[in-house]
Amino acid sequence: MDRYVKQRLFGVLVRAATALVVGVMLLVVGVTIVRGGAALLGDPSIVFTPPGSRYMLEGDGGFLHAVLGSIFIVGPATVVSMVLAISTAIYLQSDYSSERFSDTVNMFLNVLWATPPIVYGVFVLTVIIAVGARTSLFFGIVAIAIFQYPIMTRYTDEALRSAPETVTESAYGLGATRFETARMTVRAALPGVIAGIIMGFARGIGDAATVLFTAGRSTQMPAGLFEPATTLPILIFDQSTSFNAEVRSHAYAASFVLIVAVLALIFLSKLLAGRFARYAPGGRHS
């Protein structure tokens, strides 16, 4: 076959593949935004209204309980996970640990990353049963934090790995301690670290399986740390399997809220990363 025919065929192939992926993505996001937007425009208050006593059956009230549940579960989980992830990544990168040890840990983190979230959910459920507790906001936080931890650690580890070694050497060369040097390395890798944390947050806020058995799939407002709660993904599942057409339309509204939240987060991460990239060695020029 002629080289230029090959080139043209390849061009068609890559364009078709990209069009397919982008098309499906636009369809999903588009339908959600259009139908969710329509539902929200019809009655924007459903986002801010607590559910009525027979919400799932009759659609009275709104789904504020799930919005708050998501925030109260994923927010603290992200903070806990972030602290653990950054600490672990620093440990793995610095002279605190040997290369072989950090390779081994990274392998386990990859396994954890690929573990289906339902496994974490069931694991935490086992703990709940073992300690004789019941499903609650607290255990939702625990489950989501465990779920986010490998994702954030791997991202942060990669980011620190790609920070120039000379930053570390420079800091040590100025008489900085290990801790001061680690802070400098994290700063140099900040765009990547932020991307990892936001990624963890986005995955956490979108996950249903981890919270399903741990937070309690509640249909009421979250009442306390050790009271049952629910999150948006679970709510969407419940709504879309409802017999009530109005509740089913609320599923689109909830999806809309979720998708917009994730998009906003990704936008925020780009903004922050860009801001810090100006400081990263060689970030802009080379």
Binding site: S94, D95, S98, E99, P164, T166, V167, T168, E169, S170, A171, Y172, G173, L174, G175, A176, T177, E180, M184, R187, A188, L190, F276, R278, Y279, A280, P281, G282, G283, R284, H285
Partner: protein, 285 residues
């Protein structure tokens, strides 16, 4: 001429103990006189950077490195001491080969070392320090209007001078420079050289370089390493004009040194020595 010795090594040996053992330095004794610029030269992989990094315990931060022997700063060991390594590195500064801005503003880059050591009284004190060190490396006029912008936005040549200012700001006794001009374009390199030239009477500088010309231009003393061993060290003039060792002679002439001893061809010097390089002939001074 008698010179105070700022830094000296005592049978210093460094071995990398990774997958295979590599003896990077094999027992080196070398002296670095005070307020002079000493250039460490030698072919690639001869242990130049290894020597430099062992002079301020920078190998401590890597695993798989064994250091034996000793380094003495003003007569006192920097390895066998209770003083924490950061305090030693503060007295023996290090500028890496690649111009590396810390992820901070220009101002904060210079202020960083001063801040972590708490060596200042007030903000205005710090401002003065930053200005004086930026002047010292001839960078002040170029950056005075944009001290708060990220240092990473400077040109590589400017960054390298900033690195010098940053290292000087912690007031080290000795400054170690690892091929500080090798990543720069000729004009930036010249400016960094000018800066080093102006600093060398005030500071003890140890500089690794792969450029013979640079060593000849800048250095007061030259240390020649080959395959992890010290071949010759002398003041620059004697080193280049009257090398004591055959290896040095052929290296100075730009010859590639033969891998095995006594393999130098095309040499008809009467006093050509072909003994191994580990017994340096006493330098004539």
């Amino acid at each position: 001429m008698s010179q105070q010795i700022a830094l000296r090594t005592d049978d210093l040996a460094v071995t990398y103990t990774g997958n295979r053992n590599v003896e990077a330095l094999k027992g080196v004794d070398v002296e670095f006189p005070e307020n002079r610029l000493t250039a460490i030269i030698g072919p690639s992989g001869c242990g130049k950077s290894t020597l430099l990094k062992s002079l301020n315990r920078l190998h401590d931060i890597q695993s798989n490195v064994d250091v034996s022997g000793d380094v003495l700063l003003e007569g006192r060991s920097i390895y066998d001491t209770d003083e924490p390594a950061p305090e030693i590195r503060r007295r023996i500064g290090y500028v890496p080969q690649t111009p590396t801005p810390l992820p901070l503003s220009i101002y904060e880059n210079v202020a960083y070392g001063v801040k972590i050591h708490g060596d200042y009284e007030s903000k205005s004190d710090l401002d003065d320090l930053v200005e004086s060190y930026l002047r010292k490396v001839n960078l002040w006029e170029e950056v005075r209007d944009r001290l708060e912008t990220p240092a990473a936005e400077l040109s590589t040549g400017q960054i390298q001078r900033l690195c010098l200012a940053r290292s000087l700001a912690v007031e080290p006794d000795v400054l170690l420079c690892d091929e500080v001009t090798s990543a720069l374009d000729p004009i930036s390199a010249e400016r960094v050289e000018e800066t080093l030239e102006s600093l060398k009477t005030e500071y003890t500088i140890v500089m690794v370089t792969h450029s013979m010309d640079q060593a000849r231009r800048l250095a007061d003393e030259v240390v020649f390493l080959y395959l992890g061993e010290l071949v010759e060290s002398n003041d620059t003039r004697s080193f280049f004009e009257n090398p004591q060792r055959e290896r040095t002679r052929s290296f100075v002439r730009g010859h590639t040194i033969a891998e095995t001893d006594g393999d130098e061809t095309n040499e008809n010097d009467a006093e050509a020595e072909s003994e191994p390089a580990d017994e340096p002939v006493p330098a004539e001074r």
